[in-house]
Symmetry: C2
Subunit: 162 residues, 2 copies
Amino acid sequence: MPAPTTAEAATSSQPTAGNGVERLYSTDLASEIEFLTARARSLGSGRANNMLAELDLKVRSYSVLSLACSGQNPSQRELADFLSLDPSQIVALVDQLEKRGAVTREADPRDRRSKVIAPTAAGRRLYKRAEAIVQQASDHSLSALNEQERETLRDLLRRIAF
Amino acid sequence: MPAPTTAEAATSSQPTAGNGVERLYSTDLASEIEFLTARARSLGSGRANNMLAELDLKVRSYSVLSLACSGQNPSQRELADFLSLDPSQIVALVDQLEKRGAVTREADPRDRRSKVIAPTAAGRRLYKRAEAIVQQASDHSLSALNEQERETLRDLLRRIAF
DNA sequence: AAAATATGATTGACTTTTTCAATCATATGG
DNA sequence: CCATATGATTGAAAAAGTCAATCATATTTT
């Protein structure tokens, strides 16, 4: 087995824990922001998905539920645009949430083609629980950063994400 | 047609351009770091994939090629660990790159089960070109940030990505 | 107003990506 | 030597993403 180049301690999370991959930390790829973003997201949503499984939710369905509960009365089209998903994927996600009684499709008086996604009382309760879980997952994923650093990260990301 | 709530100008990129989704920018979801990370990555790798298409590469194959060219002589197992991919996905990626003559599988004298992925001369040339394209794509995706902010972002991401 | 055109939701087909279990060859620890 | 673990590979199945077509309703044009 090839010996690790630099003796890197297990400072942070537990992702590739134990593996002998530290050798690749020094590559060009490992310092590309795009790569780091992809990796951070993979780790983060992986953990969130695992933890949300206990509510039979995934990050996707959580996102839809969250927007439904936002008070902004999003239509399916808006959900698709905002979440960068195909409208047909929204149909499937809303179907699931509707089937379990968490949201309803309300007619939009302004445009009868459009369906506004609204939460039920049960949906709001579900969202409350899911929100707490996502918060926990996020706390775990971001444990290496203090509150100020998280705020900085949030701002920087917001500027490249919109 | 529902009128936009706040008149937000097209300050940044061109993602959800023109859409009336600005209303959702103020939701809780829109300020979750995990959500922003996912969105940034989706936009970034989307653009990179589009631009890499001219070399018949994707972000995935580019990453493998990049690590092959890193001088770190990664094995397939290491690529799988580092890229958080299933070993079978690495097989497919390396197959493609090998078929087009960009990399080879070299036997590892230390462990004859293991295959070290090495670039060919053509592979290095391909990587050079791909690197330039990815750099361009990245520049575009990160255009809202100055050099110092990019450095900050890189550091913060590195700390949560490893 | 009627006709033409555009848009939101939905469906279905199809491709790609992900995830898993099984297998073979080789290592490693007893 | 035996038992067990690991790297690469294959193949199957599940999930996610992409696209074109359709229906109902809006909007625009003539």
